[in-house]
Amino acid sequence: MGSRRFTGLLVGMFAGLLIWAAHFVLVYGLTGLACARGLGGATLLGVALVPAAIVAATLAALLATGAVWLAAWRGGGPAGEGRDETVRFVRWLTAGFAGLGLMSILWVGLPALQVPVCA
């Protein structure tokens, strides 16, 4: 297997954690930028924008990670070309990383509901 196929496999296997990382960068960047520009308290129709965006991003990330988990659990996920045992192992890890990602995304997203944005 060449390096490119292997990279593809790694990305599939780590999908849950990569989504966590993307979510993390997004919510952190958004908050930082909003506060730097004095927009931390911005509202639209009475809804606080920053927390709302974070909640939305969190839900989207949770859905995506959930899908990865489900697919891996059902025996899909990154296609393996190895022996059955190896493929099963890779699937188990894919599901495991998705589970860990799910937990961490939730955990990181929750403060948006409780903590003032800039202060």
């Binding site: 390096s3 990382a21 393996g80 860990l100």
Partner: protein
Amino acid sequence: MTERGDESAVPLPPPGTLANPGPRPPEELQRLERAWACPTGWRFLTVVNNSYVGVIYIGTAMLFFVLAGILGLLIRVQLAVPENDLIGHAAFNQYFTVHGTAMMFLFAVPMMEAFGVYLLPAILGARDLPFPRLSAYAYWTYLIGGLAFFASLLFRLAPDGGWFMYPPLTSYVFSPDVNADIWLLGIGFIEIAAIAGAIEMVVGVLRTRAPGMSLDKMPIYAWALLVLAGMIIFAFPAIIVATILLELERAFHWPFFMAEKGGDPLLWQHLFWFFGHPEVYIIFLPAAGLVSLMVPALARHPLVGYRWIVLAIVGTGFISFGLWVHHMFTTGIPTLSLAFFSAASMAVSVPSGIQVFSWIATFGRGRITWTVPSLFILGFLFIFVLGGLTGVMVAVIPFDWQVHDTYFVVAHFHYVLIGGMVFPLFAALYYWWPQLNGQTLSHRLGVWAFGLMFAGFNIAFFPMHLTGLLGMPRRVYTYPAGLGWEWLNMISTLGAFILAAGVALVLFDMLRRFGLRGRVDADPWDAGTLEWLPSDNYGTRSIPLVHTRDPLWEQPDLARQVDAGHHFLPGPVTAAGRETLITSPLDARPQYVMRLPGPTWVPLLAAVTTAAFFLLLAFKLVAIAIVAGVLTVVLYCVWMWGSDQGEDEPPVDIGAGIRLPVDRSGPQSHSWWGVVTLLLVDGTGFAALVWSYVFLWTVSPEVWPAGDARMAPLWWLAAGAALWVAAGGCFAWARRALRRNAHGMLRLALLAGLGVMGAAYAATLYPQWGVAGLDPTEDAYAAIVFALLSWQGFHVGVLTVMVLYTLARSLSGRLHAQRRLTFDNTMLMWGYMVGQGLVVIGLIHLFPRAVG
């Protein structure tokens, strides 16, 4: 051969197969021994074999541990009583900075890499690492750089800005002398060693495993090294970029970190801790990997929860990148951002917890043997868990505000570092010592040493929690009496000496029993992993077929079979003599035989010139530094010249009826994988630079151009981008020519590529000063634009050398369709450089327009 079928191209023989069942010809072993003979006398310095490089690497890391430890003791002596004037404040600042820096950069990380260099091939069943000369080079740069770093103390020139070197304190205004440059350039270039290590680990773990050792059967330690490498790839570039920026600010006054010119000192903190936090896990995870290798043998029970540990290690590696801001809780960052990091900091303790439970369960199911390594592992568990608890405490933001920069933090991180890394290390030293010469270290002295170290450590560092809570700041060279800190400090100092006595006892025993013998035939712990197979300079006599996680336990008679040459590749099959097997990344199916280089002076010489280059720069001796730099490049070329011999040998028989090609080119080759890994490092560094650009814009939009002022017209973007694309086209052209062995065309294409690349770079660089009139000393915007341009310029320079080198190979007849590693490597770098050029020029022209 198509890529698709590679994982199943070579069928793996069924478990229990003997690849070479018959008796071996008697002269075969001699040929193997001759090929792998260790150079003697002065020529020992040319050694590249990982078993030797690994041992001196570990020894050197130990030396720096002792030196930095002595500084720790001096610090404790100074702080033992109030109003002490034994060490002045200036020297004190140097001592704690060098202590912290050396412990992290010269001891902890290199020690973990050194263990990797030593152990990795052995646990995988490989004869050596994939790039032996690279490891030797890494080692020598590290040794020279480390010695120079400590030597700076003697001249009072050592850095004194703390191990994390925060500007503005460390910039040219407040630290005009060379002290800070020694940190930036001296430590900066030692990162070469870390990155070299990462490349070895990635390619080593993924491509040199014994046949049959599929991903789910490799020892946890191999997983740990893989994650270690991954973390180095994504963490170290941030510190390298930070170092470059600060050095540029110091040397040329480009104001990245100066608030009055639109810079921001927090940029340094972000970059530093984006590296600095993962660093903690870069240290801890491989140490934990060593523990996972030892615990089953010591408990006589297979590791409980293998998959869960893999999950935990990889998970920790990832999540540790989301923690860096917890070092910056007191810098006025938005509360919600802090909350993200606080949450992630707590989340990361979950996977660490999984590992701890799994070790305890393994000990519980097996029966613990009361050996010295077991003691150190139990000590590790106790201390590390305590450090983890205080870690969760400081992850709570208000608590951190209270104890930030006090001795509570000093206590916390010594619990984590000494608990999480030093205790496992000592367990490991006791555990693997018999590999050196068959002798075991003294049990009686070991028990004493453990007792002293464990008691001394807690006596020294537990009271620091209290001194911290009582308000004693860290990094103060003395304190007044009457604040209630006297007794606690005195106790800490006593404890530190007890700890040191324990370490001294171990060192004494080691010096007494030191001896290096190629042959390893001891297996004192009845362990299950491959490094306890009988082996010699060449590794194991034959490369085993593996089908279980603990082969020595579950595959009876394996040791004898391997040593009698009944498994794969029992002797040299090419003229080179040094070879190992390259296997597929998932199932570890044999793919080709790789020829390995033997002893050479080049790594040492190149390390000397590299070190000279950076150290001379630190002292502003630019002209001689450039000479050293040029010499380094020449040596690199000499180094590479003998490689890439092409696919010139016929396929060889490795046993079990498997015939394999000798060396390969293309995406399957180890060289390709190495370059891709290097490009990942490169790309991460570039991402850090782009991130810095956006960050500076976030904090100082007022220095960004508004409207057309200070902007070059857009047609420069069109011209530049077209030229970069054309440069890419030249390489596509060269590639086609090479495939058809059209050598004249190939050379023409390469030369055209060089010219177009130069033009592309000129069209990117010139408009910024010639048209837009930017001056990098003016403000942070101009500075970061020029940093991006310089970064690209550096790549253009590297590619120029590589293309010239490729041309030289072609002209000397060493480049054709079947001998093309050199070309492929240059091509990969070239493609990357073109892409990066497009991003640079796009960012510079479009970003200000988009936001302005």
